[in-house]
Amino acid sequence: MSKRILIVDDEPNIVISLEFLMMREGHEVRVARDGEAGLAAVRTHRPDLVVLDVMMPKLDGFAVLEAVRADPGLAGTRILMLTAKGREAEQNKGLALGADAYMSKPFSTRDLVDKVKELLDRT
C-alpha cells in the first residue's frame, strides 16, 4: 500500500539514500531541502510520514515539528526525526514536541525501513 512520504534534509547524499530506500518500499516520495520548504510541502502535499532532519537552514526541524503539531488539520501526519544530533536531551526534546520516533545518524537502513513501516501501520 503506497504512502506519501516527505523527506526534509539539507544533506543531498542523505536525501538520495532515503529517497532510494522509501521508493524501494513502494512509497511516493517528495523532497524538501530546508525547513521552510519542508513545512510548505507538509501543508500542500499532506504526506503520511515526514522524515525530518533537525539542523537545517532557514527553519530547524524542531520548529517544523512544532508548526505541524500546532495545526489540527495535520494531526494524522507521522513524523520521524532523523538527526546527527545524538544527545539524549535533543531526543527527549523531539519526542516531547510530538515526534513519533527519533533516530540518529548514522542510521541502520534496516531499522529505518522497519520504523517507517511501523509508523505507517499505525494509521
Binding site: N13, S17, L21, R33, D34, M55, P57, F107, S108, R110
Partner: protein, 915 residues
Amino acid sequence: MINGPLIIGISFAYLGLLFAVAYWADRRAEQGRSVIARPTVYALSLAVYCTAWTFYGSVGRATQNGLGFLPIYLGPTLMTFLWGALLLKMVRVSKAERITSIADFIASRYGKSQLLGGLVTIIAVIGVIPYIALQLKAIAWSFTILSHYPEVRMPVHGDRPFWGDTAFVVALLLAAFTILFGTRHLDASERHEGLVAAIAFESIVKLVAFLAMGLFITFGLLGLGGPALPPIEGSAQLKPLLEPSIAPFADWFAISLLAGLAVMLLPRQFQVAVVENSDERHLRRAIWLFPLYLLLINLFVVPIAIAGLLTFPDGTVNADTFMLTLPIIFEQPWLALLVYIGGLSAATGMVIVETIALSTMVSNDLVLPVLLRRWRRRPPAADLGRMLLTIRRGAIVVILLLGYLYYWLAGEAYALVGIGLISFVAVAQFAPAVIGGLYWRGGTREGALAGLSAGFLVWIYTLLLPSFAKSGWLPRAFMETGLGGLDILAPMALFGLSGWNEITHGLFWSLTANIGAFLFVSSLRAPNAAEASQAGIFVDASRRTALASAPLWRGSAEIAELITLAERFLGSVRTRAAFMQYARSRGLDSPDALPADAETVYFAETLLSGAIGGASARVMVASVTDEEPLGLDEVLNILDEASQIRAYSRQLEQKSQALEAATAELRAANVRLQELDRMKDDFISSVTHELRTPLASIRAFSEILFDDPEIDIEQRRRFLGILVSETERLSRLVNQVLDLAKIESGHADWRTEVVELQTVIHQAVSATEQYVEERGCRVHLDLPDESAMVWGDRDRIVQVLVNLLSNAAKFAPTGSGEVWIRLAPADAAWRVCVEDNGYGIPESDLELVFEKFHQTARGGAKPGGTGLGLPISRRIIDNLGGRIWAESPPEKGATLCFELPAHPGNPTDRRPDHE
C-alpha cells in the same frame, strides 16, 4: 556702684555655681547619664591649660616682647599633631594599668618603683606650688583692683591680714571644693565627673570673658564705637607690637617645645587629658578643638596690649592688669566684672585640677610608701581606705596652704611673677622618662632616676636659684659669678653659653643633663625583669590588647588574702563587686573559685593601683603573696614568646590574605576552565555532528549496496561515487580538526621565510585547477609587476589561498562562475582579495563565517565544506601578523581579503624560493 561686698557676693555666687555644676554632673553620672563622656567636654577640660597667667599674663607678656606670648600656645598646637600617637598611647597604658598620676605613670614604667614615683612627686610639688601661688595672687589682685572701682590703683602687697585676704579665703574655698568633688572615691583612676564638668564650664566662662573684652577694645581701636582711645603713634613702647617678629628663633623654638611638653606633662594636664579621659576617641575632637580654643583666647591679646599701652603710657599701671584696668578706666563696670569672673575661672580651674593631681601624687607616692614601711613593724588599722582618703584630703589642704604661703612670702618678688615658664621647665624634666619610656625599651629605673635628678638639679641651679637671687633672697652676685665665684658655672650662662634668654638657657642645660644621664645610666645595665615586662606594656600599648598584659608573675597566693587586702583599701562592697565581675569574666560564679594565679594577682594589683598607685600596689600585693622572683631570662623569654606570637599572628594574617587572593584566582581560573570546558564540549558536539553526517551517508549506501545485489550498474556506480566523496569529506574533516587543534594549542611548526605572494597565488590556483574546472568556473588574476614580499610560512599561505579559492568556486554559480584574485599594496602591507559572483554573504554573517562549523547556506544550498576552512585561515593569518575579513557589497558576490605585513627587504635579497 562696684564695691567690696558686691564683688565678694558675686565671687561667692560664682563659686556656688561651680559647686552646683559639679554636684549636678556627679548626680548625672550616678544616674548613668554622664555629661563629661562627650568629646567637646573633654576638649574644653584640656583648656585648664589656660590659667590666670594666660588670662592676665598674655597681655603683659605682649607689651614686653610683642609676639613672645605666642609660642606658649603655638607649642601645644603643634604638639596636638602628635597626640594621635603619643597621647593615645599614654591614655591606653593608663587605662590598662589604672594609672592615677604622672608620678604613677613614670614609676609604673620603670618597674613600679616607689623611689621614682616619690622623686617625680617632689619635682612636681616644688615646680608647681609657686604656680598655684601665682593663681592665688591673680585672684587677690583682681579683687583688690576691682574693689577700687572707678579708681585705677595698683594693689600694695601685704596691706591686709591674711585672714582678711581674698586669696586666703579663696584658697580655703577651693580646698573645700576639691575635697568635695575630688576625693569622693578612693579610686583615683576613676573619673571625677563633677570636677571635670566644672572645669569645662570654667573654660567657657574665661573664653567668653576674654572675647568680650577683646571685642570691646578692638572696636575702640578701629573706631567702631567702644572706648575712645588715643591715636596710635609710633611710640617706642608699641614697637614690638606693631612690628612683630619671631626673633630670636632659638627662644621661639625652645618655648614652643617647652609649652608643647608642658601641655601633656603638667600634673593637671595629665589629670584631665589622661586620667579623666573616658574614651580614647575623644582625642580626635580634642586634636582640633583644643588648638582652636587656644587660637580664640589669643586672638585679642595684641589689640588689648596696644590699647593698654596707649591708655597708660607712663608705666604706672602694671601691664598684667590691663585686662581689668582698661574696662575700669573706660567705666564699664559690667565688663570689668565679667573679666574678673573670667580671671577667677582661669585661676580656680587651674588650682582645683592641679591640687587634685598633686594630692594624689603626694598621698600615693610620698606618704603611702613611708606608711608602708612603718606597717612592716606595726600592723595598720583595718580601714585603710578611709585613712587614705584622709591623707589625700590633708594633702589638698596642705598644698593649697603652701601655695598661699608662697604667695604671701614672695609678694611682688620675681620668684613669683616669673614662675610660669620656670614651672614649665620643671615638668619638662618628665619628658625623657615619659616619652623615652613609651618608645624605648632600654630605659632603666636608675636611668630615669639619674635623668630626673640631673635635670631637676640643673633646673634649680639655672632657673630657681637665679629667680631667688632676682627676688633678693640670695646675693645677686650669685647670678653673675656662679658657685664658688667660677664664671664658668654662672647659672645664667652655664659653660659660657650666653645670648639666649634664661628659659631657653635653663631648658637646654636641664634637658641636656637629663637626657644624657637617662641614656648613660640606662646603658650601664640591661633592664631587669620588672622593667622589661613594664616596658613591653608601655612600648607596645598601641598594638597590644588586653591579652598581652600577660602577667609576668610566679609564686603562690591565697585568694582570700588578696580579697582581704583589697577590702582594707576599697571597702568590702566595692571589692566584692570588683572581684565578682572579674570572676564572671573568667567564667566562674564566685570570687572564691578564682585560681590564685598570675592573672588574678595581676588583677588585684591593678585594682589596688587605681587607689594607691602602681608602685605601692605592687608592694602591698607582694606583702600578702609569696612571689618567686622571675629571672630576667625568663621575663625576656615570655616577652619574646609574646612578640613571637604577635609575629606569628601577623604572618598568619598575611598568609590568610594570600590564601584569599589565591582562592579568588582559583575561582577565576575555574570560571575560565569551565568556559573552556563548555567551548570544548560545544566543539566536540559540533565535530561529532559533522562526522555523523558523512558517516550516515556512507553507512546508508554501504547497506543499500550490500543488501541489494539487484541494483543496476548505473545506480551502483553513482552510489559508489557518493561513498568515495563522503569518505574524502570525512578524512578532510578529520585532518582539518587536527590541524586546527594543532594551531590552537600552539604546537604548529611555523617556518618564517620570505615569500613572494605572486608565487603562492599561482601555486594555489594550480592546486585548485581541477575543482574549479569541474564547477565550470573561470579564475581571473590581477597581480602587480612588483614582487609582493612578505614574511611567513609558504605552505600555510598556500593553504589559506586554496581555502578561499575553493570557497569562491563553491559559492559561484555552477557553470557561469567567475572568480577574481587581486593583489595590491595597502600601506605597509600586501592585500589579497578573492571575489566571486555568487549570492554574497548577509551583512550579519560577515564575522560569523570565521566561526567554527558555521556554514552559511548561501543561496539555499548546503555547502559541502567542513565549516573549518575559514576559521583555520583566520588563525593562520593572525599568526602571521595580518588580518582577514569578509566583504559583501550588495548585489555582488562575496569578497574575502587578507593582509600581511610587507617584507621591507629588497626583493633581490630573498632566498630563491621558486619551485
